[in-house]
């Protein structure tokens, strides 16, 4: 049954996130924006994810506006027929695509994110510090 809310998608993605991320937090504030999820992988890279049920272009815009603070960035969406189009647009900004497959009941990495080169170090420090302190929700 298709998800009704973004939080349903977020909940469904949690087992996958638990597996690939060392530590993460939801709704991480960065300046006047909020990133849906920011996590550290086991190599201490910063991963940002925006979840969207419909407006995936908006998710790409949100990722792009925070890209100088992330090593890798992904949009996470439910499975759709036009996935190639999304992958193509995501690749323009170096973003990866995570897709929730209803049949398999799991997240699939449809496209890997490219690693960002130059980053704004004060933002990186801030995010690492925020997540290490457990962030707002102290997840995982």
């Amino acid at each position: 049954m298709p998800f009704q809310y973004e939080t349903d998608l977020e909940k469904a993605a949690t087992p996958f996130l638990d597996r690939i991320l060392y530590k993460y937090d939801w709704q991480v504030p960065l300046y006047n924006r909020v990133i849906d999820l920011v996590g550290l992988d086991f190599d201490m890279n910063i991963i940002g994810v925006e979840f969207k049920l419909r407006n995936w272009r908006k998710a790409l815009e949100q990722l792009q506006s925070n890209s100088n603070s992330l090593d890798y960035m992904y949009i996470c969406i439910p499975k759709v027929n036009f996935i190639e189009k999304i992958k193509k647009e995501a690749s323009y900004i170096g973003a990866g695509v995570l897709v929730y497959d209803y049949n398999l009941n799991t997240i699939i990495i449809e496209q890997k994110s490219r690693k960002r080169g130059s980053k704004w170090e004060p933002n990186i420090e801030y995010i690492k510090d925020y997540i290490k302190k457990g962030g707002k929700n102290g997840n995982k």
């Binding site: 300046y31 006047n32 704004w120």
Partner: protein
């Protein structure tokens, strides 16, 4: 102080009381003229009089803001305990401006057709008297004693006739009322101070030659000493080339009167026009804002940290645009690169060391509000950002005052090339301004 086109006057518009320090401190001698809104003067006349006296002979003017009574009521009212009441500063102003305005303020909008000749006479007398007298009469006697100069020097540089906002819907009536205000004000101006007409104009007027020609024809009848111009929500950065051309064409037509013109809200393009080109006498802006302004204020929202890029004459969002540009261009590599490529104003010199990213962050620091949990720029970041902005604006005015158009164009070309390959933010106005100025140079 002489006000004539080509003077490149730096006009600073006073916004709020917490901006006092920029007018009294390091920047005291940097501005030629300060503009105050009548409502702020009416609201705290004694405090403003003390403030203006402490500026010591700094030239100023008071915008009577009579258009405010013509605007939707909501703009001059505030909600208190589920009911609307007129803002106290506007109420005080209405009480000074005369019976009709006092009677209508906060109850119904003032329309140009409601003005009998008696009302026009009364409004003009009261408005000019307010502008001329309010500061002198509000200065407390103990302050007067300590002034080492004649307190009559507290008079404004010029007076401004009452006026309506001119928009296409009621153009004829609004223009007619403005002309009557100007003529009456001229005839009763016995203060020995020049009288200016203020034109607040809707953008659609500027775009339409028929309106412009009619406006010019009408204002021919006025014998005012100069013009203040405010084109509603006109951003020189965001406007397309045809509109910018219309703006310059309008200034050219208004210049046939041979009177000084001040653009109250302008960016670097207008500053250039107030230099060798001599289409304007000066340009106004506020402390890090006010290069364009809507007549009906759009309030609310969380203020964003911004950074003024001197090479591109634009304030951009601190995150991500400003930081992205520095990364893209590799301008945050070290102190030397930053100071030579981005900015070497006193503020930047004082905060940027070899850890450019960390130091630059001082312009973008935010703090979470206890009240609503939203992120706001810290007062330190705002202060630094404002000082960087003011330092840069002062350099812009000096450049346009002392350079030929040819020299300015050379610099514009270099900066335009520099902006062309930036991905993170589009500085399209650089190309538009260059095309317009080159075209202007060719024609002249």
């Amino acid at each position: 102080m002489a006000i004539s086109n080509g003077n490149c006057l730096h006009i600073m518009l006073f916004g709020t009381f917490n901006e006092n320090k920029y007018f009294l401190g390091d920047y005291k001698d940097s501005f030629d003229l300060i503009g105050f809104n009548a409502n702020i003067i009416a609201h705290a006349s004694a405090g403003m009089a003390a403030f203006i006296s402490s500026l010591q002979n700094k030239s100023y003017f008071i915008d009577p803001q009579t258009y405010g009574f013509q605007q939707p009521l909501k703009t001059i009212m505030r909600k208190k305990n589920d009911s609307w009441e007129i803002k106290s500063s506007i109420k005080k102003l209405a009480e000074r401006y005369g019976s009709l305005i006092k009677q209508k303020a906060g109850k119904s909008r003032l329309r140009p057709t409601q003005l009998s000749s008696d009302v026009i006479n009364e409004v003009c007398i009261n408005v000019l008297d307010f502008e001329f007298d309010i500061i002198q009469s509000s200065l407390k006697d103990d302050k007067k004693e300590f002034l080492d100069y004649d307190y009559t020097s507290l008079r404004p540089q010029f007076l401004i006739s009452p006026y309506f906002y001119i928009e296409p819907d009621d153009f004829d009536n609004e223009i007619d009322a403005n002309i009557k205000f100007c003529n009456k004000s001229t005839s009763i101006n016995k203060y020995g101070i020049p009288l200016f007409a203020e034109m607040i104009i809707h953008k659609d007027i500027i775009s339409d030659d028929k309106f412009v020609d009619a406006l010019i024809e009408k204002y021919k009848e006025c014998s005012v000493d100069g013009f203040l111009l405010w084109i509603d929500e006109f951003s020189e950065i965001n406007s397309r080339k045809p509109f910018l051309e219309k703006y310059i064409s309008f200034l050219g037509k208004l210049n046939t009167f041979g009177k000084p013109i001040i653009n109250l809200h302008g960016s670097f393009l207008s500053i250039i026009l107030s230099g060798e080109i001599s289409l304007l006498a000066g340009v106004g802006h506020g402390i890090e804002y006010g290069e364009y302004r809507p007549v009906v204020p759009v309030g609310g929202g969380v203020p964003l940290s911004k950074f003024y890029f001197p090479n591109f004459y634009e304030r951009v969002d601190y995150h991500p645009d400003a930081t992205d540009i520095l990364l893209e261009k590799n301008w945050a590599k070290n102190k030397k690169t930053y100071l030579s490529k981005v900015c070497s104003c006193n503020m930047c010199k004082s905060i940027i060391s070899n850890n450019v990213q960390k130091d630059f962050q001082q312009y973008g620091e935010l703090k979470k509000s206890e009240k609503n949990q939203k992120m706001y720029p810290t007062s330190e970041a705002m202060d630094k950002s404002r000082r960087h902005y003011l330092n840069t604006k002062i350099i812009e005015y000096e450049l346009c005052r002392n350079s030929t158009l040819e020299d300015i164009l050379k610099e514009q070309k270099i900066n335009k090339i520099l902006s062309d390959d930036i991905i993170s933010h589009s500085f399209d106005h650089m190309n538009r301004w260059l095309l317009i100025l080159e075209n202007f140079k060719r024609k002249s």
